[in-house]
């Protein structure tokens, strides 16, 4: 069970991110979550949105280079130790975590973690086995 994350190439320069978010804003795109991985020269912006198809079309039209990646979204209780549990399960199953970021919503008293792992299927399996709740694309869109 995965959700789709859009990654966008951004040059590392003043105003670069602002320009990008202006495009989102002008097209009424709502971000659920966002994270930036930066290098001295460029950044990779990763976002979770409600409407992936529409967003990708908009990005391409605006001349951005982007890609769609399947990542895991887990719902964890918003309290100390709950992330540890998820990560321990992954670690013990020898699943490597490349990056992750978190977000919360106003609607539910939980936190969401986006996990980019090397094996989505296996991770889904072990997380479910250990009672960790995964969220799908539909649910993300409803949040």
């Amino acid at each position: 069970m995965t959700v789709q994350q859009i990654s966008v190439f951004l040059e590392n320069r003043p105003g670069g991110l602002a320009e990008f978010t202006r495009v989102l804003s002008e097209n009424n795109i709502d971000m659920r979550a966002m994270c930036i991985a930066e290098t001295p020269d460029f950044g990779i912006l990763r976002i979770i949105v409600d409407d992936v198809y529409n967003t990708v079309c908009t990005m391409k039209e605006a001349g951005y280079i982007c890609s769609v990646t399947k990542v895991l979204a887990v719902e964890i209780p918003d309290k100390p130790g709950s992330l540890l549990h998820t990560l321990t399960v992954l670690g013990e199953s020898d699943i490597n975590l490349e990056y992750s970021y978190a977000f919360t919503t106003r609607k539910k008293d939980v936190a969401y973690m986006i996990l980019r792992v090397n094996d989505n299927e296996r991770a889904t399996e072990v997380l479910t086995e250990h009672g960790i709740k995964l969220v799908d694309q539909e649910e993300i869109s409803r949040l």
Binding site: Q5, F9, F42, G63, I65, S67, E98, Y99
Partner: protein, 434 residues
């Protein structure tokens, strides 16, 4: 007091030099015609026979040689003696096609060494000097050339080669180096480091012979100040022999070309027409004494001016200005010849768009090269390590093609200006040719 290595030739009258040139040219044309089928064919195509060249005045009848000819004839096509008579090769960096491989007989090396010896003595060198050679040794002509010249002069030679700056400075201090030979950018770096370490009063340098890359008068003053020396320019190219084709004397108003070995012409790079003295154009050399790799009318692509004005040093050989530019798109970065087409080849091989920009700069007197490439959907990934891996592959491929490090900067698509007509691919911020 002016020192000369071979005063009888260096200060010979114009008539004497011309006589030498005429005699040697006639002999050389015959040597090439008889032994280099590649050039013989060119002469036949141009309808010229060796008998048509009776003096320097007839030089213009001969066809030019260019880097393209060197590529076509690679590796042995321009060698004029049996390989068993060759004792050495030297080469420029770059991959096949762009790489120049030149051959030398022992006689060729002796003459080349003598040219370098003239340069060292013109910079005040004598057998009492300690000549510190920090040019690279190996295929590059810099180290071997000045090394050989220093031996001819009889100086104590320190074959340091490039790199390991701490050791360079230690030898300078311990062994009392008096003449430094290296690229101007390395000289500037050494000067800076010596001053930072507070060792300026421990070094005994009096002069430096710097070449293999373009440098400005401002840079000369910087180096002279930081090392407390007089800095001399030297010029050469592997195709013709190496450093010492021409060199500066005490007057420092241009470099004397060793006219007993090389005949210089200035041509209009577009038409090939020979230009009169004093006009700016492309420098063309004819080797009249080389046995193994004798190039006739080789187009250097360097733009400069020749002058025969009387020189206060007493030398009579024609002087050339520092190169004022190139008639092709070759860049000299850290002393290494770089063609934008080499960079383009690597980019295309690696799946990048051919829309790129090359930024060359000089930071703290050292050249930097940056290649800006537009990101493509194929190269992009959500993972920084994936993108960095591809970036590193490109850096490695550029390094193996160019021989020097190029920083790769991935930029947004369509961010490199598409110009109408000829694209501006090179931004050289060094302002070397003023």
């Amino acid at each position: 007091m002016e020192h000369y290595y071979q005063p009888e030739i260096e200060c010979a009258s114009r008539e004497e030099i011309l006589e030498l040139q005429n005699e040697r040219l006639v002999k050389q044309v015959k040597h090439v015609y008889d032994n280099v089928p590649y050039y013989r064919k060119k002469m036949e195509e141009a309808g010229v026979t060796p008998e048509d060249v009776r003096s320097v005045d007839d030089l213009h009848k001969l066809p030019f040689l260019t880097k393209d000819d060197l590529r076509e004839a690679y590796p042995y096509g321009l060698v004029a003696v049996p390989l068993e008579d060759c004792v050495r090769i030297q080469s420029t960096s770059g991959t096949t096609g762009r790489r120049v491989v030149a051959f030398y007989t022992q006689h060729d090396i002796d003459l080349w060494d003598e040219c370098c010896a003239r340069a060292i003595m013109a910079a005040g060198g004598t057998k009492e000097d300690v000549v510190h050679v920090s040019y690279g040794y190996g295929l590059f002509t810099g180290g071997p050339g000045l090394n050989g010249g220093s031996h001819k002069v009889g100086s104590l030679t320190l074959p340091m080669s490039s790199g390991n700056t701490d050791r360079q400075i230690q030898f300078m201090c311990d062994l009392g180096s008096t003449i430094l030979c290296c690229t101007p950018s390395y000289a500037a770096y050494l000067g800076e480091t010596i001053n930072e370490k507070g060792l300026k009063d421990k070094i005994k340098l009096k002069a430096g012979i710097f070449g293999a890359e373009a440098w400005t008068e401002e840079m000369r003053r910087d180096i002279e100040k930081s090392l407390g020396i007089k800095a001399y320019d030297i010029y050469g190219l592997t195709e013709i022999s190496g450093p010492g084709v021409s060199f500066e004397c005490s007057e420092q108003t241009g470099m004397h070309i060793n006219e007993d070995h090389f005949i210089a012409e200035i041509i209009n790079p577009k038409t090939g027409e020979v230009l009169p003295e004093g006009e700016k154009g492309e420098l063309v050399f004819t080797s009249i004494t080389k046995e193994a790799f004798p190039l006739l009318r080789y187009r250097t692509r360097d733009i400069c001016v020749l002058t025969r004005e009387k020189c206060s040093c007493g030398r009579t050989h024609v002087k050339m200005t520092k190169p004022m530019g190139r008639s092709d798109d070759m860049l000299i970065i850290k002393g290494v010849n770089v063609f934008p087409s080499q960079i383009e080849t690597v980019l295309l091989n690696k799946g990048y768009a051919a829309n790129y920009q090359i930024i060359v700069d000089r930071v703290n007197n050292s050249d930097t090269l940056e290649v800006q490439v537009e990101m493509t959907p194929e190269m992009f990934s959500d993972s920084v390590s994936e993108v960095s891996k591809k970036e590193k592959e490109l850096v490695d491929a550029l390094k193996s093609m160019l021989g020097i490090y190029a920083k790769v900067r991935l930029v947004a698509p369509k961010s490199i200006t598409r110009s109408e007509g000829k694209a501006v691919r090179i931004i050289d911020k060094r302002n070397l040719y003023q």
